[in-house]
Subunit: 376 residues, 2 copies
Amino acid sequence: MLIGVPLETAQGETRVAVTPETAKKLKAQGHTVKVQSGAGVAASAPDEAYTAVGAEICDRATAFGCELVLKVRSPDAQELALMKPGTTLVGMLNPFDKPGLQALASAGLTAFALEAAPRTTRAQSMDVLSSQANIGGYKAVMMAADKYQRLFPMLMTAAGTIKAARVVILGVGVAGLQAIATAKRLGAVIEASDVRPSVKEQVESLGAKFIEVPYETPEEKEAAEGVGGYARPMPQSWLDRQKVEVAKRVAQADIVISTALIPGRAAPVLVTEDMVRSMKPGSVIVDMAAGRGADGVGGNCPLTEAGKTVNKHGVTIIGETNLPALVAADSSSLYARNVLDFLKLVITKEGALHVPADDDIVLACLMAQGGELKKN
Amino acid sequence: MLIGVPLETAQGETRVAVTPETAKKLKAQGHTVKVQSGAGVAASAPDEAYTAVGAEICDRATAFGCELVLKVRSPDAQELALMKPGTTLVGMLNPFDKPGLQALASAGLTAFALEAAPRTTRAQSMDVLSSQANIGGYKAVMMAADKYQRLFPMLMTAAGTIKAARVVILGVGVAGLQAIATAKRLGAVIEASDVRPSVKEQVESLGAKFIEVPYETPEEKEAAEGVGGYARPMPQSWLDRQKVEVAKRVAQADIVISTALIPGRAAPVLVTEDMVRSMKPGSVIVDMAAGRGADGVGGNCPLTEAGKTVNKHGVTIIGETNLPALVAADSSSLYARNVLDFLKLVITKEGALHVPADDDIVLACLMAQGGELKKN
């Protein structure tokens, strides 16, 4: 099959959907891989790295003209115009963006959005949200360390002791856990919070402290312990007390990293302007939900400005919206492996495209087929 | 005594010679501390932090008009004009810059350059070269990590494994040791080299590997082992073979951090253009000797451009010349403690300035007194 790999053109996007590593594997499966010149440069993969494994370097139109196009970000209108009806597209296509998906359907594409894969064991190796959040959590800490005008580790020197940085992580999903691990590696003292008290064990296993909120009613205790192994959402009374506890820790923190995202909905406010005002001069907030707040600019903090680093009340607030793109080589490496694994589900042994009607992962990712919108 | 703390004006300088912590102590010793407005802002110490401990906020002329002026960098001509003859100045005054020192002498100052302190046990707590190199070594790794488009630690994820970064550290003084420690914290695999084989133990104690070069002659062995506990410079034959070994490791490295400085002389070339060409695309060099090479632009690598980050042969070369200034709060904190400790040697219990004639540290640091140049 002819597989095209275009250079990504979204602003700030540095990743590439196929790396020399996966190009080699696709080639070994009998496919022809056509990579747009320069597609991998920002991800430390120059054209020669692709030709060395048997891929061909081509121009933009050729890459988009292939039978199967592998991308990172959803194509814009100009890119869509370069794709023939019947083309198969795999990428991160924003499954909650109905107009965007409609455009893909109208162009006659068969389109798979990898973010929509179910979070099951079988889908883990193609879980792009996890693979990219992992890198995002690492980079969030590194950006905080870059702006923070002190060291992370405690140092005992001839000129006296330097205290370790105090880091508070809000939201302990994949990104939050990697942020804890990275800050811990650097020697920080870490506290973490989550609306699911059940993550306490994971937090502690990484050497951080879970910000605990005692249960005051049987209802709260039952919700936390769950029924049949599944925790239930915590009652509002508990969440309200948690906010008070978190605010106290944020006031003492040098670094706050907030990671709370809800798919398809606005990110919750976790760090209010009053909380920012309570922080020490020189403190740093990395808002990993930047641009996902209700207004499309803020994030978990309303003072965040998406895509910018701002100083408010003496606190630096980093609103980077695409952290994985700042670690382009490794985020591409993981993403390309995710894509490669997904392709196994939709390419037959003979090398032809086939959309199985009974595969839950394929069906969950299928956004458009035969001119028809499959989702929303 | 009236102590003045001006805002530093050298380009990129963010440090301050007195922090709220040391201002408080000077105040407790009975001195009046006058801090130029904004002097500490970049180091996370706003004016209010100084007034809170009893310091006074003043303008530039007042700060320079004090009896004792505490600075980070040597004053420029305009600043010198604000200082009265007889003023005492303490700072990093470039003890090898004869014209600069002559200007201080001509202005009638009593000037102490803290970089000139002997490297003895008693002088350790005022050793500004060590305190700042420590921070520089940390920041060098953090800058490398920022530019490097992969992760430092090894990660095992559902999408496969990410390899740990390979870091090579050239020169194992204070900066090199802290660079090893920081890269190790982040999970890198580290090799280090130094012209003194005796540092092997320190390198290994931090979890890095020393790049070993076997001794081929009794002369080499004897030089390495030393006589009476002191190692001697290694013979050229050994240094030549070391270069070959280092070149092999640099070719395999993801990150190279070079730290070799010789006080008062040009920095040696450790990473040649050929070695840069041998590195992988996306690799990063941090040249801590940037601007200290024979041409005043390069450093341990001739392709380095002081004050810039450049890409040569696919390798990012960071030529930052003032790394401690990028961690302004902690580098100021250590520097200010160095200054405070030094002042104990030149201020009597009654609070008057007194230059003892028999103190080796004071004499080593004294660059000018009574209109006379004391050094060079």
